[in-house]
């Protein structure tokens, strides 16, 4: 027999960046044009893979926000609210098609700026974002059928603030239903990931969408606060941390502003002993290591029935060996870069806390790049509901593993959290799935899968994970006045 004298390793397979065009400096997209910020201040967008500056981004101030909202108001009253619904739909379809045409460019920019693996931006983020536009384009002229026997009217100007974990996908989740229902938009991407939204602004310009219907302004929290507090905004749609969500809720209290908040989570992923174990292990991996764990619905609390826990943990550790951690632009990368230095510090802080709490840590033995922000896939065993790392959202590739004995016990423990965004159930028994879906206090419950998204399926939380639903029919009603 031939003997093998070396390991068979995957050679680097980098996605080319030659086909993308990026400006050195980006202005604000207001009223269909690129305009300089009144602040004349810029901040840097950093590539988390090598810590190099990709571009400079405008920091919009109160005056810029006023301009953007004025443009959106004008476009709403003069053009968009008067346009026949099927015409509105045509524009949305056009945006979807243009995004598809430029999907390769969008995927590369997303991976450069956000640190997510090109496999994910190419196969998940961008196609899903396009699909959201296609899906809601179809609804534009069928709203009467969506809400039979109700009078419907748009809300007006929507202020939309999105996070850094799924930059262009969240932009699509926000913009597509708002436009389909006849609203106009002022959107602010997160400060670490503005580029794909600015690229989307170019696409919107190319689509010929009437000026001011979509305005995209960049900046930090103060820019977002200026949008939230502006008196001429009718609706706030926010995805981000529970902390900021609470501030928003306070600041709009007493106003007429409608809001949907999609906030944090600490979702339970529950494995029963009759589950298809190898697929469940895959579900654990997809649940917590997808997008470096920067997922609000990440399955960050794993519950394994005690009889199979050793086996599942052994399988999980083995599976973690084949996760490739590294350059987000390498087509073989499974776990990319942590989005920012700031977030890496937060994750490392929790890993420290976990160790201090006496939890047993296991990390992938992969080599990490010397530059950039990276965190190896990490699991903690020997934890309890009372552990800090079990209670608080870490927003990184860090999993806690608890065991349970009975169905009732795991339902109680799964619900024993201020959050309630998602849950996963793994079992071969159909009746058990239906039992759990009604008893788990979570907006989304996945059965024998995890982190599956579709435009037709509503998404949103219970309790401190927020309120309101995005996606599907429910996503339409969040942008409509129904009487």
């Amino acid at each position: 027999m031939a003997s093998k004298n070396k390991n068979w390793e995957y050679a680097p397979s980098l996605e080319s960046t030659e086909h993308i065009t990026l400006k050195k400096r980006y202005d604000l997209f207001i009223n269909g044009k690129w305009v300089k910020s009144a602040s004349n201040k810029y901040f840097k967008s950093i590539n988390p893979n090598d810590e190099k500056v990709i571009a400079e981004i405008s920091h919009a101030n109160q005056r810029d926000v006023n301009r953007a909202i004025e443009a959106a108001r004008n476009a709403y009253t003069k053009v968009w609210s008067k346009m026949p619904a099927n015409e509105r739909g045509k524009y949305i379809y056009r945006i979807a098609r243009l995004m598809q045409e430029r999907s390769r460019e969008l995927a590369v920019i997303e991976s450069l700026d956000a640190g997510k693996p090109i496999r994910e931006s190419r196969d998940i983020d961008i196609p899903l974002a396009c699909n959201h536009f296609f899906y809601y384009a179809g609804w534009a002229d069928k709203l009467d059928y969506a809400f039979p026997n109700r009078q419907i009217s748009p809300l007006g100007v929507a202020g939309q603030i999105i996070p850094w974990n799924f930059p262009i996908l969240m932009a699509a989740w926000k913009i597509a239903p708002a436009l389909a229902t006849g609203n106009t938009v002022v959107l602010k991407p997160a400060e670490t990931t503005s580029l794909s939204a600015l690229k989307l602004a170019e696409i919107i310009q190319d689509s010929g969408l009437p000026e001011g219907v979509v305005n995209i302004i960049t900046g930090y929290g103060d820019t977002g606060a200026a949008i939230v507090n502006h008196p001429d905004v009718n609706k706030i749609a926010f995805t981000g941390s529970t902390g900021v969500g609470k501030i928003i809720q306070k600041s709009i209290a007493g106003s007429e502003k409608k809001a949907t908040l999609e906030l944090g989570g600490k979702s339970a992923n529950i494995i029963f002993d009759d589950a298809p174990l190898d697929q469940a292990v895959e579900g654990i991996v997809n649940g917590i290591f997808f997008n470096q764990g920067h997922v609000c619905c990440a399955g960050s609390r794993l519950f394994v029935q005690e009889g199979i826990s050793e086996k599942v943990i052994r399988k999980l550790k083995h599976r973690m060996k084949s996760l490739v951690v590294g350059n987000p632009l390498d087509k073989n990368t499974d776990v990319g870069a942590i989005n920012s230095k700031e977030q890496l510090d937060i994750i490392n802080k929790y890993i420290k806390i976990g160790k201090k709490e006496g939890a047993e840590i296991h990390q992938s033995a992969c080599s990490l790049p010397s530059k950039g922000y990276f965190c190896p896939p990490t699991i903690f065993t020997n934890v309890a509901q009372s552990s800090v790392i079990v209670q608080e959202e870490i927003f990184g590739p860090v999993l806690t593993i608890q065991t349970f004995r009975t169905v009732d016990e795991v339902i109680q423990k799964a619900n024993n959290t201020p959050y309630g965004l998602a849950a996963g159930v793994w079992t071969d028994k159909g009746s058990r799935i239906f039992n759990l879906t009604t008893k788990l206090k979570a907006g989304v419950v996945w059965a024998n899968t995890y982190n599956k998204f579709d435009p037709s399926s509503p998404f949103g939380g219970y309790k401190e994970s927020g309120f309101g639903r995005e996606g599907g029919l429910h996503g339409l009603s969040a942008y409509l006045k129904l009487t």
Partner: protein, 294 residues
């Protein structure tokens, strides 16, 4: 034998699609392709097989493409028992093994004593490896002990020859059955488990191979004993073969990436791999006329 875990088809398909998304380029591609060549069981299993046909195929086993130096030989040649002696004489003094199908291949519809003498004959003729088929009819009828005993008896006859157990997954219908049959074969004494005879479609799909690899993985974790894997039938191009290597590497590990533990049962794969190797080296695809068809 412990209870086999359940298998979720949708989850398996998803996992397999991840293997297929691995991008194998430059040095990894070249090394992988050579590894594939070295893992092939060059096969002829036809009613019309003749000494002439077998002789020519066995010559090719050691002379895949002589004008390109540094290529390995295939792992083995796979023939009917009646051709074992001839095949053995053709590949002597080389690394190429002779594998013989047996147990009333491909249907397995014969009494056990016929299967035993079929196997014994092949072993006596010098077969290094025996590729037996399981009784699928008995398996589907729920007579698992019958299937188990049969494998154990054949294993005894094999002596020093390594036993590959063909599950004929195309007839087992579900991945749950594939998993159950894999566990059964491994516990009954298989050195290798093999997907198919090549006579039934579908044959070695990645979903099926993945399910079998998982059974091997679990057995190894429980006992520390390595079992080999041979997907056979339907793997006719380089890309699919490389994806299979990816799967073996990630599910089982580097230790399995030799022809001692992994084989491709194929008749037309070798030439596609050769074509890709030459293309990787020269940057040009050559006409299929430059690749021999023994």
């Amino acid at each position: 034998m412990s209870l086999s875990p359940t298998v979720d088809k949708v989850g398996v398909e998803e996992r397999v699609s991840r293997f297929q998304k691995r991008s194998i380029k430059t040095s990894a591609k070249m090394d992988g392709l050579k590894l594939v060549l070295n893992m092939i069981d060059l096969t002829t299993l036809e009613g019309k097989d003749t000494p002439g046909k077998v002789r020519q195929m066995c010559y090719k086993a050691n002379h895949l493409h002589d004008s390109f130096p540094g290529l390995p030989s295939v792992a083995a040649v796979c023939v009917y028992p009646s051709m074992v002696k001839l095949a053995k004489s053709m590949v002597k003094n080389s690394a190429v093994k002779v594998a013989s199908v047996s147990t009333a291949f491909p249907s397995g519809q014969a009494p056990i004593d016929v299967k035993i003498s079929d196997t014994k004959f092949a072993v006596d003729q010098g077969a290094d490896e025996i590729d037996m088929v399981i009784s699928r009819g008995k398996f589907l009828a729920g007579e698992f002990s019958f299937v188990y005993d049969e494998i154990a008896q054949i294993k005894e006859v094999c002596g020093k020859s390594r036993l590959k157990v063909i599950l004929e997954t195309g007839e087992l219908a579900t991945l749950d059955n594939v998993r159950k049959a894999s566990d059964l074969a491994i516990h009954a004494g298989a050195d290798f488990i093999k997907t198919s005879t090549g006579k039934i479609q579908p044959a070695a799909t990645m979903q099926v191979t993945y399910t079998m690899l998982m059974a091997i993985r679990d057995y190894y974790d429980e006992t520390g004993i390595m079992i080999g894997m041979k997907p056979a039938g339907g793997i006719s191009n380089s890309k699919l073969a490389l994806h299979n290597l990816v799967m073996v590497k990630e599910v089982l590990g580097e230790e399995w990436l030799t022809n001692k533990w992994f084989r491709f049962g194929a008749s037309s794969l070798a030439n596609d791999v050769l074509m890709q190797i030459l293309k990787t080296e020269t940057g040009k695809y050559q006409s299929s006329d430059y690749f021999t068809i023994d």
